[in-house]
């Protein structure tokens, strides 16, 4: 029995060798590498030779004057994106669902999904130009008598700007799941509602919205896991030293400390700090989503 099992099944294990090797090398080895957060790591002395320093780097990080700002920025930008983005996607999906002309609907979808597939370098390249004080967006709002706004260069405007840009890039893509949920609503319910004389608005409010409410709750719960993900690549493309006070987030801080200043241990410690909170939140979100919604991970 045992030998026939091996004879039959060894190819399955052989297939797994390459993927398992790469996951160990590039996922598990770095996971072990976080021990340098507790060491005084220097490349010269290497991984093993550096001495243990306990929680020194965590204390250093927490006592840095910028740390509070950075934590606050991360939280504000991430939560802003989640809330604003989800609401906009839901409204967009509700509006699009009322469009009866198939060609029009398809065209709107095709165009609004597209920005999702562009990198932040491309989008940043387009918008840094458009958002200049004499750029096209300021020219446009100037028509309404509004003075030019330095969107990406002022601490007052940086956070709203990145939140709106993220929403602009992702709302179409984010609406797909709501639209899919709407197609699953039984048409008979709409027919019954029409028979009962429910107006269009009542149908949206009393049929469509309840029909997608479980998806809304599920995505809202799952987004708890993201409240420290403010969007590393976006910020890295759009920010600049003039707006560090409002634009610097944990990920960009880790990047600058670690790779530009070569503070390996300090930035690993901050990264670990973020990972632990993120993991706790993700597990919590998954637990809540599995318990209270239809969500299943595997």
């Amino acid at each position: 029995m045992h030998t026939t099992y091996i004879k039959q099944k060894w190819p399955l294990y052989a297939m797994l060798v390459i993927p398992v090797f790469f996951v160990i090398l590039f996922n598990y080895v770095p996971l072990y590498g976080v021990v340098i957060a507790f060491k005084n790591y220097s490349p010269a002395r290497g991984f093993w030779g550096s001495e243990w320093v306990g929680l020194k780097w965590f204390e250093t990080a927490v006592n840095m004057p910028d740390f509070k700002f950075i934590l606050r920025n991360t939280f504000v930008i991430a939560v802003g994106k989640i809330v604003f983005g989800q609401i906009f996607s839901i409204i967009f999906a509700l509006l699009l669902n009322e469009i009866k002309n198939k060609v029009y609907k398809k065209t709107v979808q095709t165009i609004t999904y597209f920005p999702h597939f562009l990198s932040w370098v491309i989008i940043g390249g387009i918008f840094t130009d458009m958002l200049l004080t004499r750029g096209i967006i300021n020219q446009f709002i100037g028509l309404f008598g509004i003075k030019p706004i330095f969107f990406l260069g002022s601490n007052q405007w940086f956070q709203p700007t990145v939140i709106i840009l993220e929403t602009w890039k992702e709302f179409g893509w984010g609406a797909i799941i709501y639209l899919a949920a709407m197609t699953n609503i039984n048409p008979e319910i709409y027919e019954a509602a029409i028979m009962d004389g429910a107006s269009l608005f009542r149908r949206i409010w009393n049929v469509t919205l309840p029909g997608i409410s479980s998806i809304i709750v599920m995505l809202a719960v799952l987004s708890i896991g993201n409240i420290l993900n403010a969007g590393f690549e976006q910020i890295l493309v759009l920010y600049n030293p003039a707006v560090y006070q409002t634009g610097d987030i944990l990920d960009t801080f880790i990047y600058r400390q670690g790779l530009l200043q070569a503070q390996y241990s300090l930035s690993t410690a901050i990264g670990l700090f973020k990972s632990i909170i993120a993991l706790t939140l993700t597990l919590l979100a998954n637990f809540l989503a599995t318990k209270y919604t239809d969500y299943r991970i595997f």
Partner: protein, 294 residues
């Protein structure tokens, strides 16, 4: 079904079409603006007078771009890492997804293996430990640093696994009675039956590799080995906002290559535009499978 619209509903419908038209326009106008910019002459581009139609129409920016050796090199790197990277991703994805698509009794230790693959989705060592690893492997400044560290796209493995599970089991049974081993079954039956899914995931991988710029900013110092998007990022960040208002001279110098940058942005978007219609066919199923499973 016959629906008679009330007056209020008709007004709503009209505004709905109108509002969605505006929303859609906001998604496309930035792209049109940058195309117009790339086709305009330097004077118009610099004086902020270009809107949605080129002024002083010319192809100079594109000519400059194609005669720029940094651009040509970067294009080569991008094409190479996109094709090779995507191939490696797909090979590894299939090799992992097929065994994992088996039932627990068919593959002993499957439960352990699933956890082995899920854990890295939940936690990662972060930027620095991975950077140190890549450095210690002497992969810095090598194109493999852009391909190997992320070569197991675990999320895609899960999607692929679900696709494989959808295949009718009776086909496997008749094949294994005929004495075919798992390699043969994978190659001769499973892969041909899953070509649509494989194509879909490949397109997403292609776009991912084409779009990636951050990898090279940390792993590759030699700018001759940068992919296109990293080169573009470098050009964008040379605008220093902190001394922007003060130094007008500096600004003019930077803005004069606006058309050139526009041309690069347009060029970098074209491949995505090209694969986009093919991807769109699979969006909804892909997104749904990834997020909600019954």
């Amino acid at each position: 079904m016959n629906i008679t619209y009330t007056k209020g509903e008709r007004i709503f419908n009209f505004f709905n079409y109108f509002l969605l038209a505006i929303i859609t326009l906001t998604c496309i106008l930035p792209m049109i603006h940058v195309i117009a910019l790339s086709l305009s002459d330097t004077v118009s581009a610099t004086s902020n007078s270009v809107r949605f139609w080129p002024k002083g129409f010319n192809f100079a920016a594109y000519e400059t771009m194609f005669s720029n050796s940094a651009f040509i090199k970067a294009l080569g790197v991008s094409v190479f890492r996109t094709i090779v990277g995507c191939s490696v991703n797909m090979l590894v994805t299939i090799l992992a997804a097929y065994p994992l698509s088996k039932e627990n009794r068919e593959l002993k230790g499957r439960k352990f293996l699933s956890f082995f693959f899920i854990i890295p989705m939940m936690v990662s060592g972060g930027l620095i430990p991975l950077f140190i690893l890549v450095k210690n492997l002497h992969m810095l400044d090598s194109i493999w640093s852009l391909i190997l560290p992320g070569c197991v796209p675990i999320f895609n493995v899960v999607m692929m696994m679900n696709f494989f599970r959808g295949i009718n089991k009776s086909i496997f049974e008749s094949a294994s009675i005929d004495g075919a081993n798992e390699f043969v079954i994978l190659l001769k039956i499973v892969i041909p039956l899953s070509m649509a899914s494989i194509a879909t995931l490949s397109l997403f991988q292609l776009v991912g590799h084409w779009n990636d710029w951050f990898g090279a900013t940390i792993y590759i110092n030699d700018r001759n080995k940068w992919p296109l998007q990293t080169l573009l990022h470098n050009m964008l960040t040379t605008i220093d906002f902190s001394n922007f208002s003060a130094a007008d001279v500096n600004r003019l110098k930077q803005l004069s290559d606006r058309s050139f940058r526009g041309a690069m942005i347009v060029f970098a978007t074209i491949p995505i535009l090209f694969v986009y219609p093919f991807m769109q066919k699979y969006f909804i199923s892909g997104v749904t499978i990834g997020s909600v499973k019954e």
